[in-house]
Symmetry: C2
Subunit: 248 residues, 2 copies
Amino acid sequence: MIITSKNNEIFKYLKKLKNKKYREEDKLFMVEKPVVIVEAEGFVPRYIALSETVYKENKFKEIIKNFDEEKIYIFQDNLFNQISDAVTPQGIIAYYEHLDREFHEKSGKYLYLDDVREPGNLGGMIRSADAFGLDGIILSPNCCDLYNPKTVRSSMSSIFRLPIYKMDKEKLVELGFNLISTSIVESVSIRDYEFKDKDIVIIGNEAKGVSDYLMENASMSINIPISEKVDSLNANVAASIIIYEMTK
Amino acid sequence: MIITSKNNEIFKYLKKLKNKKYREEDKLFMVEKPVVIVEAEGFVPRYIALSETVYKENKFKEIIKNFDEEKIYIFQDNLFNQISDAVTPQGIIAYYEHLDREFHEKSGKYLYLDDVREPGNLGGMIRSADAFGLDGIILSPNCCDLYNPKTVRSSMSSIFRLPIYKMDKEKLVELGFNLISTSIVESVSIRDYEFKDKDIVIIGNEAKGVSDYLMENASMSINIPISEKVDSLNANVAASIIIYEMTK
């Protein structure tokens, strides 16, 4: 049955999920890249939306065959485009439940993101951390939304694989891990520092850097040595190079 | 004098420069970030456009005082917004001449970008290469436009400092430098390879990788070792990590 009415309840519901407030309420997030839906095997979406065209052309049959039929909703193309967040909708959206975890780890190397605000940066850091086998990423409460469609897109399928935690700054300090801030002053070059178990590197906000509170509570600072003429690296690039060194 | 008419010749001319074709004809490019205009000191823009608001508030007087008055044009805000390429126009645009150079180098380490197509990636690679002191970047003829506003934006002011060259693939092979392709098959980990003078690393197209022609003509291949579960790194991140290793 193809949904053709704007008054359809599931249409109205899925359209609302483009809004962070409603996604949060129901603890859902959207994935629109077919390859990511394939790679997320093992995670069962709560709903799958298809466009009429994709359904009639049987385009993603290899993906869809794994899902319960009753979770699949088919929408007239113009309705589908209204629930999609993509510039070029692919004709498929899977809605997954949030992947929230509690941090109970006793070892490992992590990044702590201290109010990273740009979804593309957050997603990129998740992708790099997964690629290099970092043990996880911990988000401060004021980081941008982990489940923003742009974060999800730029993480590729790594958002499903990498352990990601949320933790406030006070709790981080109490963990008893080795907190390392990133700063250009009074700091050790990452080319010289040998990362070890229980190191947590703090990546600061794009504009403000690491917060004063964490700067004071870190046991040391590291830097990526760059030309004096250059203000900074791209935040995702900087974090990825740190991850690359941490996982040597 | 504030330009208020759509029929004004300089308005019509600057508006056309948003189009690549006209920028190419006159060998000009636009910079809209005030901080980049400051950092580009030593480069003299051919024109400077200001919005009426910025002019009346005397907002960028420290920047503008360095420029010839006769090069400065002031536009009513709604006209200014039509010549701007920014999502949030800052009220200032400087138009610079292209920075084309010929490659006559006998030493140094370089990247060759083999049809990199995404302006944000190109700009990001320029920024990282400048930050780490790479000797330059060489572009294949089918790379995206170096002077695309998005490339310029994401390079920050590095587009003014880093030597950037254009060269076709045949000429690259004839240079006599050590060509290193990037590939996950039959390749050496960048963690194990020691980069040396006259190394040129070839970064492939985002979707297709390094072209067959350059793969065949390279003396060796390198890879960034990542988890088997992850398809690839972000192209800018991958190139930046290679630059980081090249400039150790």
